[in-house]
């Protein structure tokens, strides 16, 4: 059976590219090296919920149609619209995104990608503070302190720790994983190693400080080598494998971050606790941050989405920037969708702006809050939408989704997802990274090719191709109108 090696996993922003797939009769039957989400994607992508025919809404229901007809109808909707929204783009290739931007420019629409509801706030603060960062290999080779803040890699980026951070093997820093493994080796035979590690993962009692109400200063870990700290409002699974866990009161991350900024400058705080955590305890964490050789802070939606939003990130970026006065420290957002970084990157090189780009005046304008899709929907300004490789109806607040659904809605997606069920024109597409090739960008801005491993079902095209056809049809319609 043919085995395809070095396949890039099109699920999360870690973009692991060491996946090995076994293909049998044009179907993927085995996945090696992947996490649970990766396996689910490669084995389940072609499940029963796949859409195999373009559809158009007639008399309230979706009925099958030809691709030509669906493209024509989609182009009509977009060409007629006065303020269309083009949304999604984080789960498709850069090549498709590029066509999407050209389409947005052609129809004078607002194009936005899903970063608007994940790390958009991070970008806004990067635009104020900047960001000291690096590629993930730097962390693997050099970091002796790793902090995850408001992020739960165990669930959202399952191989992040093993490939890039605490459990990865680097030139200057060894994997902290080994110390765990060595312990296990003494107890069990080599064969049972894997399962033992699993058990250890699940059952290892982590030195977790008591709940907020009864916080006592805790002697800090004296562990040698790499240290892993998790800061979050909940004791997540990632917190359990950490060397240390700081539980922050919900919506108080900003105060905690600012307090750290003072502590790393050896300034005194006038309060006893910040965000529910005693100050002596924070001083210990600050000491560890200052005294490491290379620290890395990863942050997730726990920071961008809780009270303070973008300014939580402002504080985190400022903290890490300030830490560079004392040592080497970097910071990186944990990007969710596999190519959300790529969407930001392509948007930026073509328009100057990473998301929420409004072409209605014929040139790119950018002002999240004004030109971002959720705000446009909440103000009920758009009059049509095309959604590519995303499911806003299942990810937007009800009020925003309501306006989206009320107007003509075009959906390009391989799956009958929630938004697809609301579509007026539904065009099924190939899975990029499985049935179509392309490029995606990892969370650290490293471009990685996506492979075509198997053929898509008959009559199913990649997003890029579908978008090109729509663009061509839009231009044809506009030319005809101009002539008339």
């Amino acid at each position: 059976m043919p085995v395809v090696k070095a396949v890039t996993c099109p699920v999360c922003g870690s973009l692991c590219d060491d996946i090995e797939l076994t293909v049998e009769n044009g179907r993927i039957v085995k996945v090696k090296n992947g996490c649970a989400m990766c396996e689910a994607k490669f084995l389940g992508y072609c499940g029963e919920h796949r859409v195999l025919k373009p559809m158009i809404r007639k008399n309230g229901g979706l009925v099958k149609t030809t691709l030509k007809e669906a493209v024509r109808r989609a182009a009509e909707i977009l060409a007629e619209a006065n303020y269309p929204v083009l949304y999604g783009w984080s789960s498709t290739s850069c090549e498709a995104i590029s066509v999407g931007i050209e389409l947005a420019e052609e129809v004078g629409g607002v194009i936005d990608n899903t970063s608007v509801v994940c790390h958009g706030p991070s970008i806004l603060s990067i635009q104020n503070v900047g960001i000291p960062s690096c590629t993930l290999g730097q962390i693997r080779h050099r970091a002796d302190l790793i902090v995850y803040w408001g992020s739960n890699p165990w669930s959202a980026h399952p191989r992040h720790i093993e490939r890039y951070t605490a459990f990865a093997e680097g030139r200057f820093e060894k994997s902290a994983w080994r110390s765990y493994v060595n312990k296990v080796k003494a107890l069990v035979g080599r064969k049972k190693l894997q399962s033992a590690i699993k058990r250890l993962f699940v059952k290892k009692p982590a030195p977790v400080p008591p709940p907020i109400s009864e916080y006592k200063p805790y002697p800090f870990i004296t562990k040698e080598g790499r240290k892993l700290i998790v800061i979050d409002v909940r004791r997540t699974k990632s917190a359990e494998i950490a060397d240390y866990f700081v539980q922050v009161e919900p919506n108080k991350d900003y105060e905690l971050l600012q307090a750290f900024r003072m502590l790393i400058r050896d300034q005194e705080l006038e309060v006893d606790r910040v965000a529910g955590v005693p100050v002596e305890y924070l001083e210990e964490v600050a000491d560890v941050m200052v005294s490491c050789d290379f620290g890395a802070l990863f942050f997730g939606l726990g920071l961008t989405m809780s009270s303070g939003k973008l300014r939580n990130i402002d504080a985190a970026l400022s903290l890490v920037r300030d830490l560079n006065m004392r040592t080497k420290f970097i910071i990186m957002p944990m990007r969710g969708h596999f190519n959300v970084t790529g969407a930001n990157i392509v948007f930026t090189w073509q328009t100057g702006y990473p998301y929420a780009v409004d072409f209605s005046l014929g040139y790119p304008r950018y002002n999240p809050g004004e030109t971002s899709v959720v705000d446009v929907l909440l103000r009920k300004e758009s009059d049509a939408a095309i959604i590519v490789a995303s499911d806003p109806v299942s990810s937007f607040p009800r009020k925003a989704a309501e306006h989206l659904v009320k107007n003509p809605l075009i959906v390009i997606d391989p799956h009958m997802n929630v938004t697809a069920q609301m579509a007026d024109v539904l065009i099924p597409s190939a899975f990029v990274g499985i049935e179509a090739s392309g490029t995606a960008y990892r969370m650290d801005h490293v471009p990685i090719p996506l492979k075509k491993v198997v053929n898509p079902p008959k009559g199913i095209h990649p997003d890029e191709e579908i978008l090109r056809r729509i663009l061509k049809e839009v231009r044809r319609i506009k030319k005809k109108e101009e002539a008339a």
Binding site: V117, P121, R234, R235, P250, D375, N417
Partner: protein, 135 residues
């Protein structure tokens, strides 16, 4: 009339690996629906409210109200904090306010939780019909 127990909490929404895996199996899959129509609660809070693992509860915010299944959190203790995975159920109750930065408030929303053993957890189709009257 006996007053129903009600709990004031902070609602978080977010990713879980179950939702992440379910999503890849397809949004209409049983795996997906079951992974996102739930609310993780602190066991102490559940006791206070008199609900068990699997009891239906109603989560209400200033923006809407939705019935989901209560599930005992493995990540306790986190008294006063409840968690619903991202998805159509969560969207009914999250705060649409973006504070002019483009992102609604998905985390840290004041909410109340009450037992709703008699109310059903709507399936995806029913939920969408009720909310959007389309589909």
């Amino acid at each position: 009339m006996e007053e129903k127990p009600k709990l004031k909490v902070t609602l978080l929404t977010g990713r879980t690996i179950e939702q992440g895996v379910g999503k890849e199996w397809g949004k209409s899959s049983k795996e997906y629906v079951e992974s996102v129509s739930v609310c993780y609660m602190d066991p102490e809070d559940m006791k206070r409210l008199g609900v068990k693992d699997g009891t239906n509860i109603q989560v209400s915010t200033a923006f809407g109200s939705v019935v989901v299944k209560a599930v005992k959190s493995l990540r306790a203790p986190h008294p006063g904090v409840v968690f619903i995975p991202y998805g159509p159920w969560a969207n009914v109750v999250v705060d649409p306010e973006t504070h002019s930065i483009g992102m609604p408030s998905f985390k840290g929303i004041p909410a109340t939780v009450e037992p709703a053993p008699d109310k059903p957890v709507l399936g995806l189709k029913e939920l969408l019909k009720t909310v959007f009257r389309k589909g």
